[in-house]
């Protein structure tokens, strides 16, 4: 019998309303395993509003507060201030927001929270589009992906613009800690969250959360898709601690990005030259990450 490689404690309850194979549900499950019960979570309008199950039920075994979509950064600041004012010690405050609620409409309050140094963890679970409303493009949707608002047909090849680099935006605020995570690598994610829990000040996680209905793949492939995102260098796992970059999963011989793309219906329309352009972009981004790592070593 193999030893468990992640904590046994479950603070996400069964019965939640996530779609089958949901990456966002796994993201919450792993983050809470790392943080433990002394945690308060504030959640904006996002898939997690629904996953959390309707009144009078709740899917978390920790307190949860709802907040409007653009205000997660402010909500964590309010929660932290109240705990400090009321002398409640030992609690971790977590904002748990989607990509649209973070990189688009919520960017201002995230920036505010980072800049004013709120002692809290902000987790962006990235399913790369407005999935709760039904697959509309967000600033975090990758180039050339199909969404319902970047349809493919005629001259349109899906989303034209590149994915917003939220880690660079966050890093520009110089938080004490920022890291990427991937639900396909729970040990890496949980280790980083546990490390972040022990720090104080603003901490940020960018967690890739594959979405079967939105990315157009069968629910059983969520982990496989997630794993390929990292093992192709498309979504590298790294951390930024006090401005120092460190890659936490090193892939010496990355798989072709095409292996990742071909599993997903949202990239079905890609031509050979478009796949090649994405491959080049992934390699260029990875080289920049390596340069950041060596420059800050």
């Amino acid at each position: 019998m193999a030893k468990l490689t992640i904590p046994a404690e479950e603070l996400l309850r069964s019965g939640h309303s996530a779609c089958p194979g949901c990456g966002a549900a796994l993201a919450m499950r792993y983050v809470l395993k790392a943080l433990g019960p002394e945690t308060i979570v504030t959640v904006p309008a996002s898939c997690w509003t629904v996953i959390g199950t309707p009144y009078p039920t709740t899917a978390l075994d920790v307190p949860m507060l709802d907040n409007p979509i653009e205000a997660t950064g402010a909500s964590v600041s309010g929660l932290r201030a109240a705990l400090d004012a009321l002398g409640q010690k030992g609690l971790t405050v977590v904002g748990f927001a989607g990509d649209g609620g973070t990189v688009d409409i919520g960017l201002q309050s995230l920036s505010g929270m980072l800049e004013r140094g709120t002692d809290a963890i902000y987790v962006m679970y990235d399913n790369e589009a407005y999935m709760n409303t039904g697959i509309q493009r967000s600033g975090s949707t990758p180039s050339l992906a199909w969404t319902t608002t970047t349809p493919v047909g005629g001259a349109s090849r899906g989303k034209l613009e590149p994915k917003k680099d939220i880690m660079a935006i966050v890093a520009a605020h110089h938080p004490v800690y920022a890291a990427t995570g991937n639900i396909a690598f729970p040990e890496d994610l949980i280790k980083k969250v546990a490390k972040a829990k022990a720090l104080s000040g603003p901490r940020f996680f960018h967690v890739l959360a594959p979405c079967p209905p939105g990315w157009r793949y069968d629910a059983e492939r969520t982990i496989e898709v997630g794993r390929l995102a990292t093992d192709t260098h498309l979504f590298p796992l790294y951390e930024v601690e006090n401005d120092r970059y460190r890659i936490t999963r090193r892939i010496e011989r990355p798989k072709p990005v095409a292996d990742y793309l071909r599993l997903q219906g949202r990239f079905d329309h890609l031509r050979v030259e478009e796949v090649a352009s994405l491959q080049e972009a992934v390699e260029a981004r990875y080289r920049r990450l390596l340069a950041l790592e060596s420059a800050s070593a």
């Binding site: 205000a71 402010a74 309010g78 929660l79 201030a81 109240a82 004012a85 505010g112």
Partner: protein, 398 residues
């Protein structure tokens, strides 16, 4: 009790200090700014032991207060005009989550075009958000009302947020002598918050939640019931305040020389002071005129308005804002309250004092004259420089 010379802004700041707020979150905007500057001073010097969150917008200011209040903290913010409009979404959250935040509002006109001067369009635009709304006439009233608002908002039967509004510059930046109560008296009047209905940091509950049609209506009705409870409890809160601090707040619609009046003007905020002196002058001339100050707009004091209607006087309601396509917001409420009165008094909606235009004694005289002598239209823009339809560039700018 110490008498100090305070601006309306500072009266807000000192009231928040006396209330021993746990959390302040605020973003600067003219003419609210000196409230939050003073609070920053009070926190830095240790006079107020509070967490002061320097937010990046008014939206975040109120979100931070709502989240803090959800955990049981006493939270205060202040804003004005565009800032209040930006908060609008959170105003609904605050009442829906039953978080008794108290907010100072420096009443200022809204753009476009820009204006930094007084009118009530900012807070009147928030009338349907479930907030309790007070309008102050003096800086003393600002301070007293903020304290009373905390007590009323935090009552277990209420748990609704309050805004305490005051006219831009006339109060915010004008200093007056203000009696500042003793901390011990305020502590007796305003005990620490009850934590009923809040998010317990050690219990796995979810505040806010996601409802089906099976539950939603009942939560809306709960806010309506709480608003009604606020109206019922307000006299008790004011009696307590009078007993402990020694000042009468006057209820939601204090009346002045109304019993035998032929014409009564209903006013809000600082226009009341001008109107009161004009009433004195007109009385000296033998005109039977009176005044009622609408101190609390939400919950609306319909019973008190009906009692006012029973004087038989003609009633004019002076609004410093306008509900486009209808009338002044307070006027429509007064009309609605008097709909079933028999006989139904004449009610006229006067709109004046927008964007800081002075409400002068001469203007108030003209309103009483209009009420007493004219059959004219139901809605009167009383201080337009030129009558509608006759506006020319020359008349407007000449």
């Amino acid at each position: 009790m110490a008498r100090e010379v305070l601006s309306g802004d500072y009266a807000q700041s000192y009231a928040a200090k006396l209330a021993r707020v746990d959390v302040v979150a605020a973003y600067p905007i003219t003419p609210q700014t000196s409230i939050v500057e003073k609070l920053a001073d009070l926190v830095v010097t240790g006079a107020l032991r509070a967490q002061y969150i320097k937010v990046e917008s008014e939206h975040s200011a109120l979100q931070a207060c709502v989240s803090a209040s959800a955990l049981g903290a006493r939270a205060y913010t202040a804003t004005s005009s565009q800032g209040l409009l930006l908060m609008h979404e959170l105003l609904h959250w605050a009442s829906g989550m039953r978080t008794p935040v108290v907010m100072g509002v420096a009443n200022r006109a809204v753009a476009a075009p820009w204006s930094i001067d007084v009118d009530h369009a900012d807070s009147m635009s928030q009338r349907d958000t479930g907030w309790i709304q007070f309008y102050a006439e003096s800086n003393q009233e600002v301070l007293d009302t903020v304290l009373a608002a905390f007590r009323l908002s935090e009552d277990e039967a209420v748990r609704l947020p309050s805004m305490v509004a005051m006219d831009a510059f006339y109060l915010t930046h004008t200093v007056e002598p203000v009696d500042v109560p003793e901390q011990a008296d305020v502590d007796r009047f305003l005990p620490p918050r009850s934590k009923v209905g809040t998010l317990d940091p050690h219990r796995p509950t979810r505040l806010g939640s996601f409802t089906s049609p099976e539950h939603y209506t009942e939560f809306r009705h709960a806010v309506a019931s709480a608003s009604k409870a606020a109206a019922q409890l307000a006299p008790t809160v004011e009696e307590e305040y009078a007993r402990i601090v020694g000042r009468d707040l006057g209820g939601p619609l204090p009346r002045y020389l109304t019993d035998d009046a032929d014409a009564i003007l209903v006013t809000m905020g600082t226009a009341t002071t001008t109107a009161r002196s004009t009433v004195d002058a007109l009385r000296a001339e033998g005109r039977k005129v009176g005044l009622a100050k609408l101190r609390r707009f939400r919950p609306f004091p319909s019973e008190e308005v009906r009692a006012l209607g029973r004087t038989g006087a003609r009633i004019g309601v002076l609004d410093r804002s306008f509900t486009y396509g209808a009338a002044g917001a307070a006027a429509t409420e007064v009309m609605a309250a008097l709909y079933a009165a028999s006989p139904r008094p004449l009610v006229r909606s006067f709109v004046a004092g927008l964007g800081g235009r002075d409400i002068t004694p001469a203007l108030v005289r003209s309103l009483y004259r209009h009420l007493l002598e004219e059959e004219g239209p139901e809605v009167v823009w009383a201080d337009l420089k030129v009558p509608p339809g006759e506006a020319t560039a020359e008349a407007l700018h000449g």
